[in-house]
Point group: C2
Chain length 402, copies 2
C-alpha cells in the first residue's frame, strides 16, 4: 500500500498525521480508514466473552465474472472489475449465511477494523427502534421532551420519528466537497477534523447540536443530515441512562458472536459519534447484516425484535425521500437510519460515505458487507458501479445456488 506509515519512523512523505490533516486525504486515507483509532480518542465496544459465531464457508470462484451494467452506463462490467473501480478495501458476500466470497485490498485485513462512517447510523437506528418497540422511547414525542438541552435548537419540536427518518428541517448543510459546508464545523466540534489554532467553537458533539437552528417545517421532506443521528445517540443515552457505547455492546455487539471488539470515535467529553464513528471488522459487519436478514434472530438468540426488522423493511415515506432528489435511488426511502430500496427483492442497506455498505437482500438470502476508500466523499460517485453489482450478485446466487 505505497508504504504509508512503514519505517521507524516512517519517512516524512509517508507519515500520516491527524494534526496536518493528512489522515483524511486520498490516497493516505486508504491507510487511515483501516487505522482510524490512531488519529484520536475512541471507545471500546466489547465483543463479549462468548465464542466466535463461526461463519461457514462455501467459497466459489464464479462470482468474479458476474456482469452488470453500471447505472447510466452502456457497457457491461464484471463484479471483479467493480471492486477495483470502487476502491474496495474489503468485501464479504454471504449466501444463506455462508461466506461465498471474501476479498481484502489496500490496507485492510480480515483481522483488522475499518471505519464504517455512516453505516454506523443503521446500528444506532436499530437500537432506537428497539427502544421504541419496548416502550422506552416514544416515536411521536418531541425531542425536547427527552433532551431539554435541545429545546431552543432546531431539534426541539421535531419528533423522535422525524429525527430517525431524517425528515427534520434544520439549518445545516452537508456537502463534503464544500469546505464552507456546516459539516466541516461539525467535524471540528466532534474532533473528526483538527481545529485551527485559536479555535473557539464548540468542543463537544452535544454543544454543537444545541447550536443548530430550525429551517422550515419538520416532516414533509427527507434531507440527509448526519447530526440527526447524533441526536438519536443522545436519545438512546438519555432514556437508557447508560453510556452509549455500553448500550451498543450490550444490545448488539456482544450478542453477535463477533470475532473482534469494535470501537467508536468519541468527542472530547467521551460521547460516541453515532453518525459515523464505528470501526469494526468486515465479517462482523456481515454478521450484523445477517442478523437483520434473519429477522433479528442470530447466534441462537433474538438480538433485535422481529417487529423492528419488519418495520425497517417496510421503509419510510417514499414521497418525502423523493424530495431529496437522489437520482441513483429512485423509489427508495429512509427509515430508522436505513436505506430501503423497495425493489422486488426487498433489499435494504446501511450506507457510509466513501463506499461503506451493508446490503441485505432478503429474497436472495444474500448479505454483502463492504468497506471502501473511494477518493470522493459522495456515494453518488460509486453507486453506479456498486448498487447494480450487489443486485447482480444476489440474483446470480439465487439462480445458481450451491
Amino acid at each position: 500500500m505505497l508504504g504509508w506509515m512503514v519505517g521507524a519512523p516512517p519517512p516524512s512523505d509517508k507519515l500520516i498525521r491527524f494534526e496536518d490533516g493528512s489522515y483524511y486525504h486520498f490516497p493516505q486515507f486508504r491507510w487511515s480508514f483501516s487505522h482510524w483509532r490512531q488519529f484520536g480518542p475512541t471507545m471500546n465496544v466489547s465483543r463479549g466473552e462468548g465464542p466466535v459465531r463461526v461463519l461457514a464457508r462455501a467459497e466459489r470462484t464464479d462470482l468474479d465474472a458476474v456482469t452488470f451494467v453500471p447505472l447510466g452506463g452502456d457497457h457491461e462490467m464484471t463484479w471483479a472489475e467493480s471492486l477495483a473501480a470502487n476502491y474496495t478495501d474489503g468485501i464479504v458476500v454471504l449466501h444463506k449465511g455462508r461466506i461465498v466470497y471474501e476479498r481484502y485490498f489496500g490496507a485492510l485485513t480480515a483481522g483488522g477494523p475499518h471505519i464504517a462512517f455512516s453505516a454506523t447510523k443503521s446500528y444506532f437506528g436499530t437500537i432506537a427502534a428497539s427502544l421504541i418497540t419496548e416502550g422506552k422511547l416514544d416515536a411521536g414525542a418531541a425531542v425536547a421532551s427527552y433532551i431539554p438541552e435541545l429545546k431552543d435548537s432546531g431539534f426541539g419540536d421535531a419528533t423522535v420519528a422525524q429525527v430517525l427518518d431524517m425528515t427534520t428541517a434544520l439549518k445545516f448543510s452537508e456537502s463534503y466537497a464544500d469546505p464552507s459546508s456546516d459539516i466541516a464545523g461539525y467535524a471540528r466540534a466532534v474532533g473528526f477534523f483538527p481545529r485551527p489554532s485559536g479555535y473557539s467553537g464548540p468542543t463537544t458533539d452535544y454543544q454543537y447540536l444545541a447550536s443548530i437552528a430550525k429551517d422550515g417545517e419538520h416532516g414533509p421532506a427527507f434531507a440527509y443530515r448526519s447530526i440527526n443521528t447524533d441526536v438519536v445517540g443522545w436519545l438512546i443515552a438519555r432514556v437508557t441512562g447508560e453510556p452509549l457505547g455500553e448500550t451498543f455492546a450490550k444490545r448488539i455487539w456482544s450478542r453477535l458472536g463477533a470475532e473482534g471488539d469494535a470501537y467508536i470515535q468519541v468527542d472530547s467529553a467521551g460521547t460516541p459519534i453515532a453518525s459515523g464513528g464505528l470501526n469494526a471488522r468486515l465479517r462482523d459487519m456481515a454478521r450484523f447484516g445477517e442478523m437483520l436478514r434473519l429477522g433479528g434472530h442470530y447466534n441462537d438468540r433474538q438480538i433485535v425484535p422481529a417487529a423492528v426488522v419488519a418495520d425497517i423493511r417496510r421503509g419510510g415515506s417514499r414521497e418525502a425521500f423523493a424530495k431529496a432528489g437522489y437520482k441513483m435511488l429512485p423509489g427508495w426511502s429512509y427509515h430508522n437510519q436505513w436505506w430501503i430500496s423497495h425493489d422486488e427483492d426487498g433489499a435494504f442497506m446501511a450506507r457510509g460515505v466513501h463506499g461503506q455498505a451493508i446490503y441485505i437482500n432478503p429474497k436472495a438470502e444474500t448479505v454483502i458487507a463492504r468497506f471502501a476508500s473511494f477518493p470522493m466523499a459522495a456515494n453518488a460517485n460509486l453507486d453506479p458501479t456498486s448498487l447494480p453489482a450487489y443486485s447482480a450478485i444476489a440474483h446470480f446466487l439465487m439462480a445458481h445456488p450451491r
Copy 2:
C-alpha cells in the same frame, strides 16, 4: 463507581477529560484505566481470526481466606483483604492452566481492557529476546548500529542487552511523585500528558529519545528507566521493518487464542508506546503469563522459543540490580524487561505502575494476572501487600491442589 462519566453528558464534576488532566487523577483514574483509549490515539492489536483459547474453570472459594504477613508488617492479612488494600480492578489466578479465582472491581469488566502500564515492557522484551535468538538482533551490538538517529544520544554506545536489562547510564529521572522529573517531559512528548499551551518540546517518542544524554557508564548498575523500552520497541521495528503493533500482533497476540483485541497507545506519529501503552483484557494477560509458564508453548503452538523463556527465568545480574536499592525486592534481578525474584519457586513478573502484574510461579504451576489503580504511582507502596500475597496463594494451591 461513583458515577464517573455517567449521563449524557456526564455532569461536570463527573466528567473525565484528557485536556484538563483529570484522566490521570485519583479517584478518576479508577475509571480512566479501564477506558484509556478515550483519552488519545491508539493502535489496534488484532486477536487474529482463530477461535478463543478457552480457559478451563475450577473456581474455588477457599482462596479468599488464605493469609500472609505483609512485607514489613506484623499482622496477618487475608487474600481478600489484600485485593481491596491494593485497589485491585481485576485479578485472575490460574493453577495448572485452569481459572481457580477471578474477580473484577471498580470500572473493569471481564470483557473490557485495562491499561497494563509497564507490564507492557515484558511483552516487548520477550519479542526482542526472540529476535536475538533468531539471529535478527545482536545483543552485543551497539544501539547506534541499528538506530543511527541515536548515535549522539546516551543510547548510542549502549548494547542491545544493556537496554533490555536497563543497565544503561542515562540522564533521565523517573520519579512519578516529582512533577519536575524527566518522566513528565517524556509523558508530554509521547502524548501521555497534555501539553501546555505554547509547548515547543518534542512531539514524538523518537524525537524525545534522541534528546537523552549519557550519564555515567553503561553496564554496572540497573536503573529503571522506561525510555529504555521505547528503544527496545524502536530496535524491534527497525530490524523487522514492520510497524511495531503488527509485530506484536503477529508474534504474540494473534497466537494466544485471546478473547479480545488489545491496543497500544501511540504518539502523534503513530509509534506505539512500548514502555507502557498496552491495554488488554485481564484473562488475555493471564494467557500470556501461562504461555511463559509453559516454556513458550501454548494454544497448541510454540509461540516464543523455549530458550527465550529459559533465559528470562535465569534472570540478569543480581549485583547490578542491587545497586538500585529496591528494599522490597532483595535478591531480584531484571532481564529482558522481566523482574526475576530468584526465589525458591523461580517466580518472575511483569510489573506496571499502579499495581499491574503478571506473576508466574513455575514451581507452583500458578499464574496471577492483576490490574489495579493504586492511588500512588510507585509499586513500593503496594508490594508489601501483593508480593507475599501472590506467593501465599501459589503455595496454598501447591499444598491443596484439586
